[in-house]
């Protein structure tokens, strides 16, 4: 019907990014356009119908009679796919990004057009990564996303933000070059870039050493984009250097990109067991090391950053199992966890906005000042730790189930250990922030946060809690769709 809306999800944020950049300095215009643009970004994925969109397409025919040029069967167009999974991921991204934009607009006296433009750029890039069925297009938008995320962190992070962004860009350059080299090797071997065409060309070619090199290179890129083991300190540094509302956006984007890239990897090289073994092994390491490091932090933002990284490891375990149940549970957990971690990040955002610090040694006794916030945060902690009836319970339970069905019960035990550790770490954060008496020295000044929750934050938190409970009580519509995606990955697109 209206598949014309599909490219709009990428093109509109891109145009908005340019326009907001030009509007920088005109305060009222930026405010109005920012809110309007976020409304459009939120609405478009809801109304777009499922289907494909081809850029620069030509009909696949043998000859074009008027030119007498024979064309191959290969589809030269850049193809965008849009189905339920894409819809869910793009909408989730738009929702979290809306909060980031609204919180900036409602809190700052002077709104920065450039900052909003970078948020728009990252929305466009992640939407394109989710929908693109073309491996080079995916790479281009991954690089744009890296630059946009680094720019956002530079804008809000101060000196620690510069350092985090420096590391992110340097290793992002390495990982990006690694992905591009993999693509170049595949292009040189098969001559196509469309993922469906590559899937067809690759079947039966998985012993070719050039292809195996390409697999390794693209897996290294995947590790960076999803913040798994060797890159976990870089990602967690980005999360903790950014303001927590931006960190919520960043971790949502990371999980969406993790799922999108992993689907591509599994579609192309799913039959290669060494690849899934590497994905699984590094994900397990990330889960445990992430949650151990979360427990050792003395700053709430860093604690949440490492928790987010370890939860990405949990998603990676599901996907790395390579079975139907595992992939479905992993995709499902990515969505659930992005919502739940955003909830926690936003509660900490409120503390950070009011107290200007999230260090545990300066916080304490905030329960009296902000009981509502404490209540919502404890719900968020229960959600992330996988307590029924919330959504993360449904997916974590299914991941553990999948590990046992796949014949790796030890991994199930490790997932449970990691979840317990996450719960302990988050409860420690809650205790030190809300329950423990504030023993800060007078010189540092006691922290006061209570002036009432601002409406934007409050409404967002309520919406997120409702989403968590809703998905937790009725998981099947989402899980069934994730399961059918997993089935498609394994059986053929």
């Amino acid at each position: 019907m209206n598949s014309e809306l599909i490219p709009l999800m990428v093109i509109f944020p891109l145009i908005s990014a340019i326009l907001l950049n030009l509007m920088h300095g005109k305060d009222k215009v930026v405010r109005a356009y920012g809110i309007l643009a976020m409304l459009v970004v939120l609405v478009v994925p809801i109304f777009a119908s499922y289907g494909n969109h081809l850029f620069g397409a030509h009909p696949v025919v043998d000859t074009l009679p008027q030119l007498k040029i024979s064309l191959s069967e290969v589809n030269l167009a850049i193809e965008y796919n849009f189905a339920f999974l894409q819809k869910a991921l793009v909408f989730l991204l738009a929702a979290i990004a809306t909060f980031a934009v609204l919180s900036h607009i409602s809190n700052e006296k002077k709104v920065s057009g450039v900052y909003l433009s970078m948020i728009m750029l990252s929305i466009a890039a992640v939407s394109a990564v989710v929908m693109a069925n073309d491996i080079f297009n995916m790479f281009v938008f991954l690089e744009i996303m890296t630059i946009a995320q680094a720019a956002i962190v530079i804008a809000v992070g101060g000196v620690s933000g510069y350092k985090a962004a420096f590391k992110y860009l340097v290793f992002g350059g390495v990982a990006g070059a690694s992905i591009l080299l993999g693509i170049a090797l595949l292009l040189g071997t098969f001559g196509v870039l469309n993922i469906s065409d590559l899937h067809n060309s690759l079947s039966g070619n998985m012993t070719n050493p050039i292809v195996l090199t390409a697999v390794g290179l693209i897996v290294i890129g995947w590790l960076f984009e999803s913040g798994l083991f060797p890159f976990h300190t870089i990602k967690s540094n980005m999360y903790s250097a950014a303001k927590p509302d931006i960190a919520a956006l960043l971790q949502t984007q990371t999980k969406i990109v993790l799922v999108a890239l992993a689907i591509v990897l599994l579609r192309l090289f799913g039959g290669y067991s060494n690849m899934t073994a590497v994905m699984l092994g590094l994900s397990v390491g990330t889960l445990i090391i992430g949650s151990v490091m979360a427990l050792l932090q003395t700053d709430f933002r860093r604690l949440l950053a490492f928790t987010a990284v370890s939860q990405a490891g949990l998603v990676g375990i599901g996907i790395g199992l390579g079975t139907r149940l595992g992939i479905a549970a992993g995709i499902f957990h990515a969505i659930n966890d992005a919502i739940a971690m955003s909830l926690l990040f936003i509660t900490v955002y409120f503390i950070y906005e009011r107290a200007k610090t999230t260090e545990f040694k300066r916080l304490g006794g905030l329960l009296v000042q902000a009981p509502k916030l404490a209540f919502i945060q404890i719900i968020g902690i229960l959600i992330v730790s996988g307590v029924p009836p919330f959504n993360a319970y449904q997916s974590e339970f299914r991941i553990i189930d999948a590990t046992i069905q796949a014949g790796h019960p030890e991994l199930g035990v490790l997932v449970i250990l990691g979840t317990i550790l996450t719960f302990v770490a988050l409860m420690k954060g809650f205790y030190l922030t809300f329950l423990k008496e504030n023993t800060t020295k007078i010189a540092l000044g006691k922290v006061h946060i209570y002036n009432g929750l601002p409406t934007v934050t409050y409404v967002t938190l309520i919406i997120l809690v409702i989403a968590c409970v809703g998905i937790g009580l009725f998981p099947m519509p989402f899980y069934d769709r994730a399961y059918s995606v997993a089935l498609k990955i394994l059986v053929g697109w």
Partner: protein, 130 residues
């Protein structure tokens, strides 16, 4: 050197560029040298792509209406001889991306230098104990 030798040494050069880049990123202390390393890796990958599109003794992959009118049967021959043009488009995109990454990285470098008065990684990351 004939065409395929050029192609071979071009690949070797690309590999060397990437190795030098990785060396710089890991071992060099100066952050500008690290940035140069990132750019060298990108250039190495670009060179791989260009070399893939190169065809020994090939012709430029542009076809004009005039050429077509002169000899209509030329297309099969053209397709056999022309070099592969898709990688060149990819390289162009990657150069643009590399340039923007470089700009942001150098901007960060200026800010870091203003704050720390040094470009050494040891100085800048001193607060994060090893």
């Amino acid at each position: 050197m004939n065409g395929s030798e050029v192609q071979f040494w071009s690949f070797v050069t690309a590999a060397l560029l990437m190795i030098i880049g990785i060396y710089a990123i890991i071992f060099m202390d100066n952050i500008i040298k690290k940035i140069i390393g990132v750019m060298l890796i990108g250039d190495g990958v670009n060179l791989v792509l260009i070399t893939e599109g190169f065809k020994p003794g090939g012709i430029v992959p542009i076809i004009s209406e005039k050429l077509y009118n002169q000899s209509p049967g030329i297309f099969q021959e053209f397709a056999d001889q022309a070099s592969y043009s898709l990688p060149f488009a990819l390289v162009l995109t990657n150069i643009v991306i590399g340039a923007s990454t470089l700009a942001v990285l150098l901007g960060i470098t200026i800010k870091l230098y203003q704050h720390y008065n040094s470009l050494s990684v040891h100085e800048i990351f001193k607060e994060e104990k090893i």
